[in-house]
């Protein structure tokens, strides 16, 4: 791999990677079982060059911000590289947000330039908020042939087709320094106060060096990219990491489980990062296959799994496991070395299930504010009940531990963000004396080997098993105008703290008007509004509260105080499922 210590920016490192491995395949893009794109590092450079030149001509300058809103595909990485090449700051936005949310974050980030997929652009142009679009240059990918910039009523509303935005000639690389901003990544705030994590080139280069020290890539490695590339994990291990090591990234245009399973075999995948929901899906599929086996074969399989388990207790022995359980490993292509799991709480039994089959599923813990990962299982030995050890260069402390040693996890490392964009107040609350306060509760395991275990959250938010962080403030907008005196949304575990993770839900707390009854009409209204939210954002239940909410002099709800009142005055069992 490249020696990252020698580079001042992501752009410089990526540029050298394209020179270093010209003939290695760096990207494969498939739609279902149809391969659409296969690029070498040299091809990648050729595709980025005209875009970089066009950006130069459009006076895109060092420090200018550029957003990407796209599903995983080769153009995502080519666009990101071109932005870095021109000295820009990348703003990767979640493509699953609504058009109004996209417009809000585009405005907050002050992105001058936007690359967006056609179906998402169409939603933005049809939004009542479209006039608020602040980006000056918009490139649309996948736009139907015939639609182009300024082509009349059915045009791209002032945007350019990605394919048309190009210029001839050699672009000039724009150098950046380590302390310059590389990315602004939003960890929350679509409904309230946007939290744009400002991450420097130093953060990414340091984090990449730490991760690849434990999980190296090399030419020939194939990484299956199925988490969204705008997510911190995939951006690092599905783009930066593989590229600075000469490895290959495989993109799928569909996340249908059967095509994902097929891709493991077709492309002989080496690594993949997953959220728990996908891992669980793979487990379900395998267990169903095992259940179909005839009793004798099933008995044999159980014995072999038991033997593998015994032989890999101290460390993974992938080659041996492949020989012991060839059918299982063939189903994953035969080259798989690890299923890296992160983004949310993972059931230890699922992690153990895969490890026992000889497929290590190391679990990690991270947050956008800390670039990508804080801890990761190093498999020395594998532990299903922890989120691993702090990565090289990361210091982790447990603040104010209780009698069980559990307290708030704090992190200090060069990978930690420098601040929240335009929000010194939230920054000051989150980074205190150089330590990032994560809001997560944990402790170091008593075995003394430095494994971190997580036990819940101090902060008012939930993480779904699909890896989505949901902040109550962001979804309250869906209940604006609800015919009650007042309402507030909380994470159930914030109201009734418990030292566990998983099965997290949001609760809508409503205070009725005097003499108002909680009738079916109100219930139906709550259900209807809840369904307007994306499935992973919905509240799980509601609770009627019989006191006025405490408020500040500026009439904001004192959430902490209200949560304490509810926690003490109502039982979790009183939450009515929606």
């Amino acid at each position: 791999m490249l020696d990252l210590r020698q580079y001042a920016s992501l752009g410089a490192a990526l540029k050298d990677a394209l020179e270093r491995w010209p003939n290695e395949v760096c990207l494969i893009e498939a739609d279902r079982d149809r391969e659409k794109v296969r690029l070498t590092y040299s091809d990648f450079k050729e595709m980025a060059r005209p875009l970089c030149r066009a950006l130069e001509d459009a006076e895109f300058k060092a420090g200018d911000r550029a957003a990407i809103i796209m599903t995983n595909q080769s153009k995502w990485l080519i666009s990101a590289y071109s932005i870095f090449f021109c000295g820009g700051v990348l703003v990767p936005l979640d493509y699953k947000l609504t058009a109004a949310e996209h417009l809000q974050l585009l405005a907050h980030s002050k992105a001058r330039f936007l690359v967006i997929e056609y179906y998402l652009w169409r939603a933005i142009t049809q939004s009542p908020e479209f006039a608020k679009l602040t980006a000056e240059i918009v490139l649309v990918t996948e736009a139907p042939v015939g639609l182009s910039h300024g082509g009349g009523a059915a045009d791209l509303q002032g945007a350019y087709r990605w394919e048309e935005f190009k210029r001839k000639g050699e672009p000039q690389f724009v150098a950046r320094q380590r302390e310059d901003t590389a990315c602004i990544v939003y960890s929350s705030g679509t409904g309230g106060r946007p939290k744009g994590c400002v991450l420097t080139h130093d953060s990414y280069l340091e984090q990449c060096a730490s991760l690849t020290a434990w999980y190296p890539f090399w030419p020939g490695v194939r990484y299956l990219s199925i988490l969204p590339t705008n997510h911190a994990i995939d951006f690092m291990v599905g783009f930066i990491g593989p590229f600075v090591c000469g490895a290959c990234v495989v993109h799928l245009r569909t996340l249908r489980p059967e095509f994902v399973r097929d891709a493991f075999v077709r492309y002989r995948i080496t690594y993949v990062s997953l959220v728990p929901m996908v891992l669980k899906n793979l487990e379900r599929g395998l267990r169903a296959k095992f259940d179909e086996l005839k009793p004798r074969k099933r008995w044999m399989l159980e014995r072999l799994i038991g033997l593998n388990k015994m032989l890999t207790r101290g460390r993974p022995r992938v080659e041996l496991s492949r020989r012991l359980l060839p059918q299982v490993h063939k189903a994953f292509g035969g080259e798989l070395r690890a299923l890296i799991v992160g983004g949310a709480f993972t059931d230890p039994s699922t992690l153990q299930f895969f490890y026992d089959l000889g497929i290590p599923a190391p679990c990690g813990y991270g947050l956008t504010e800390a670039c990508t990962a804080v801890t990761l299982n190093d498999l020395k030995p594998f532990r299903a009940d922890t989120v691993g050890k702090p990565l090289p260069g990361s210091e982790v402390r447990v603040l104010n531990p209780d009698g069980d040693g559990i307290g708030e996890v704090a992190v200090r490392s060069r990978a930690v963000m420098s601040h929240y964009l335009d929000d010194p107040e939230q920054t000051a609350q989150t980074i205190v004396e150089g330590w990032l306060l994560t809001g997560d509760l944990g402790r170091f395991d008593v075995d003394g080997r430095g494994h971190l275990q997580l036990f819940g959250r101090k902060k008012n938010m939930i993480v779904t098993d699909g890896g989505k962080n949901i902040y109550p403030e962001d979804i309250e907008v869906a209940f604006d105008g609800l015919p009650v005196k007042e309402f507030c949304v909380f994470a159930a575990n914030y109201l009734w703290p418990q030292k566990t993770l998983g099965d997290e839900i949001l609760v809508l707390v409503v205070r009725l008007e005097q003499n108002q009854q909680f009738d079916d009409r109100l219930r139906d209204e709550i259900v209807a509004r809840n369904r307007r939210l994306a499935d992973f954002q919905r509240v799980g239940g509601y609770l009627a509260w019989e006191k006025d909410f405490p408020r500040t002099t500026s009439l904001k709800i004192k959430r902490g105080e209200l949560a304490a009142e509810i926690g003490a005055g109502a039982a979790r069992a009183g939450v009515v499922e929606v």
Partner: protein, 81 residues
Amino acid sequence: MPPTTNHTLDEILNLAALHFKVPRERLTPDDDFFKTLGIDSLQALDLLTRLESHFRIELPDYELQGVSDFRTLASRIQARL
């Protein structure tokens, strides 16, 4: 002649009941299928695959984004028949 939306909807409900092993009479067009079937978004994609092969169409994943009831799903499928 292409089937009507109601016919399409009916077939979707039948297939969903069969695929996820729930009694057909428990499913109604405006149900939130994540909730009624107790499934996550990946299992919903699985259902989509069954529907594609039944109706002989191809639906990109994004067509399902934001869709959570059978009626809307039927209209998306109907548009491609």
